[in-house]
């Protein structure tokens, strides 16, 4: 595998005056509550090791207080770590001078905020052009780029409005346009859609996926919403009390949660909508295709669409195709089994 776009290794963050002095307690395995009780310091991040690949959406998920917003602010050093390495495009962010850091923030990483954080006294156009004007580019260029991205996020015609005149969803579109105008390879999105109502949120998620299909940015997305995480993530990182509970491909985590915390999390999910055929099919061994197949399906079809297609008949079986190639078979019985979370199925087995 090629070098990751962003690599966090051995990252610790402790909030408090003597963070470096109490670090060894955490490294020796002291937990968040003990640290607070015995030393009066708050554990923010605990030995984070995450690789974020170029062109992927890495979603960091956790409940409030799990340290996810702290984590994302380490990438551009809005928060200084207590210990650890932050490598962006092969360059150690911790070694950057003040100027170098500012340069990296201008050219490498743009950010979208939960509360939008637009400049209230500037028009939408000037807000979106802000990253370029900070770099000192001529105003006409800033306006041109800003107008282009505003149109791309569906805000053409609103260039001369002020942020307060727009709804929350539209303000966040400005926030996204601003990040896109910066034209950075990395986009940091800190609970970008959490303040929006559910319908708008779905719209924005679709917009993000659509843009991503075209732009292939490296996106680090923070959320507390598992549905959102599963929808967007190429790589899912689950945080709890400042440490990574599990990370990997979202479908894999959903089917193989390795911690009761995650099992709790995933138990309320509409699995049929999230899981895809590729995650539950039986891989083809020796090129044998069942003769009684009812048809062909794509590896990336959701289980929901499969249920609709089979009319709920569990006796059906399908051939799974990835493009032209046959890659496996899908038994509807397997599909139904996958719909029940592991915990629930174990509980059911105990009862009978």
């Amino acid at each position: 595998m090629t070098q990751p776009m962003v690599r966090l290794s051995g990252l610790y963050k402790i909030f408090g005056a003597r963070d470096k002095d109490v670090l060894h307690h955490v490294q020796d395995g002291m937990g968040k509550e003990e640290l607070l009780a015995q030393h009066g310091h708050v554990l923010g991040l605990n030995n984070i090791n995450v690789d974020m690949q170029a062109g992927e959406i890495t979603v960091v998920m956790g409940l409030s207080g799990s340290g996810k917003s702290t984590l994302i602010r380490h990438l551009n050093r809005l928060i200084e770590p207590t210990a650890g390495e932050i490598i962006v495009q092969g360059e150690d962010v911790m070694q950057l001078s003040e100027d170098g850091l500012r340069h990296a923030r201008q050219e490498k990483m743009s950010m979208v905020f939960q509360k939008f954080a637009l400049l209230p006294h500037k028009t939408v156009l000037k807000n979106a052009g802000m990253p370029l004007s900070v770099r000192g580019e001529p105003e006409a260029d800033c306006d041109k780029e800003a107008a282009k991205w505003l149109e791309r996020v569906g805000l053409s015609g609103f260039e001369n409005h002020y942020p307060a005149q727009l709804s929350g969803g539209m303000q966040q579109r400005v926030g996204i346009a601003r990040a896109l105008t910066a034209n950075t390879p990395i986009m940091l999105m800190d609970e970008a859609f959490s303040a929006l109502d559910p319908l708008i949120r779905t719209d924005m998620q679709d917009l993000l996926l659509e843009l991503q299909k075209e732009l292939h940015k490296t996106i680090i997305f923070i959320t507390h919403d598992l549905d959102e995480a599963l929808k967007l993530a190429d790589h899912l990182v689950i945080l709890k009390d400042g440490f990574v509970v599990q990370q990997g491909e979202p479908q894999h985590i959903l089917l193989n949660p390795n911690d009761p915390y995650i099992e709790d999390f995933v138990s309320d999910i509409n699995r049929a909508r999230v899981l895809r055929v590729r995650s539950i099919m039986t891989p083809l061994v020796g090129g044998k295709v069942p003769k009684d197949a009812h048809g062909e399906v794509d590896v990336n079809d959701t289980l929901e669409s499969m249920i609709a297609r089979s009319g709920g008949d569990t006796s059906h079986a399908y051939v799974v195709k990835d493009g032209e190639q046959t890659v496996g078979t899908l038994d509807m019985t397997e599909l139904v089994r996958a719909l029940v979370p592991r915990v629930a199925s174990e509980a059911g087995a105990r009862q009978s």
Binding site: N76, L78, L101, R102, H103, A104, R105, Q106, M109, S110, M111, F113, K115, F116, A117, L118, L119, P120, H121, M130, P131, V134, R135, Y162, A164, Q165, R178, A182, L188
Partner: protein, 342 residues
């Protein structure tokens, strides 16, 4: 026999105190008692003040020595202070005199439309502009136009200087907690010190005929709100927006000019409004030290018991105050509106 004699002898300090070859002048109370031909009889135990202790012990000061000491200390420091402060503050005299000349020399048929135009430009409000025009004409009708312009010129200069110094000081305070902690008591002092008290050391330092004397007094009094509100305004800027500015790599100067100052502007404008009002309040007191303008007429009203003169000038000051307040407030709301358009 003074009350504290025994205490000093009990402490074995009689020798140190020396004999009572009292050449110091008598205190007023003693003098009155002598005139009545009796020994001053105070309370049973007199308060241990310098004067009472002095009666028993010559080595101890009298209270008048304290005030004398302050005066002599100040007079001793005066030449040094004057050589430093005189050249620094000289431009203030020039500015005040220049502005005074300009406001007086400009014919009224240019000045009045100009003031009305400025009011319109600042407030963009028709009622306010009409009010300004009517008020100035009212002042002119009772022949107070000239004195009103004198007062206006003083306020113009003092407010400008207060803003020029106050805003940077406020910015510096917002950046450094330590500076804020050390400046705030000074600001409290300036605001609570009775206005006449400013004048006392200034009269000693500068000649009463110099215009900078009242200029300094007004500025010291009026600069406080603009400093306070600039500091407050910048500290109140939304932290999320500051974080966004950081995240997009703004340097400190860009942050200040593009984010902090524009977002603090409503507060700064409120500070300027207060500064104008306070310099107007001080302008009357400054007339005691030869500041020209409406204050002189008020003073005349008090000194010569010319009731009408005093009251007309007083109403003139009120009119001026309302004009300045309304125009600057209207400008403030206009700034507020462009910031948050709902």
């Amino acid at each position: 026999m003074a009350f504290y004699d025994e205490i000093f002898s009990a402490l074995g300090l009689s020798d140190w105190c020396g004999t009572s070859d009292d050449k110091a002048p008598l205190s007023l109370a003693d003098l009155a008692a002598q005139a009545r031909g009796e020994e001053a009889s105070g309370p049973l135990i007199p308060i241990p003040s310098f004067d009472n202790l002095h009666e028993s012990c010559n080595r101890i000061w009298q209270s008048r020595d304290v005030t004398n000491g302050i005066e002599e200390g100040f007079l001793a420091a005066k030449p040094a202070l004057k050589t430093v402060l005189d050249p620094i503050t000289q431009p203030l005299s020039w500015m005040l005199d220049g502005a005074l000349w300009l406001f007086e020399a400009t014919p009224w048929f240019i000045m009045v439309p100009l003031l009305v135009a400025i009011s319109w430009y600042a407030s963009r409000s028709r009622p306010v502009t009409i009010f300004v025009a009517v008020s100035i004409m009212l002042l002119a009708v009772v022949d107070h136009y000239d004195v009103a312009m004198q007062t206006l010129s003083i306020i113009f200069v003092c407010t400008t200087i207060s803003v020029l110094f106050g805003v940077p000081i406020g910015i510096a305070m917002s950046k450094s907690d330590r500076l804020q902690k050390s400046v705030v008591p000074l600001l409290d002092l300036l605001q609570t010190l009775p206005t006449f008290v400013y004048l006392i050391p200034l009269i000693f330092l500068f000649s009463v005929t110099e215009s900078k004397l009242y200029g300094i007094a007004i500025i010291l009094y009026a600069i406080v709100p603009v400093i306070r509100l600039t500091d407050l305004g910048i500290r109140l800027v939304d932290q999320d927006v500051i974080e966004a500015a950081n995240a997009f790599g703004m340097n400190d100067r860009q942050k200040l000019m593009r984010v902090q100052l524009p977002l603090a502007l409503p507060n700064i404008m409120a500070g300027i409004n207060q500064t104008i009002m306070m310099s107007l309040a001080m302008v009357v007191i400054a007339s005691l030290v030869s500041a020209p303008g409406l204050g002189v007429n008020v003073l005349r009203g008090i000194r010569n018991l010319e009731l009408g003169v005093g009251i007309v000038a007083g109403i003139g000051i009120v009119l001026l105050a309302v004009i300045l307040d309304r125009v600057s407030k209207a400008a403030l709301t206009r700034v507020d509106k462009t910031q948050v358009k709902h």
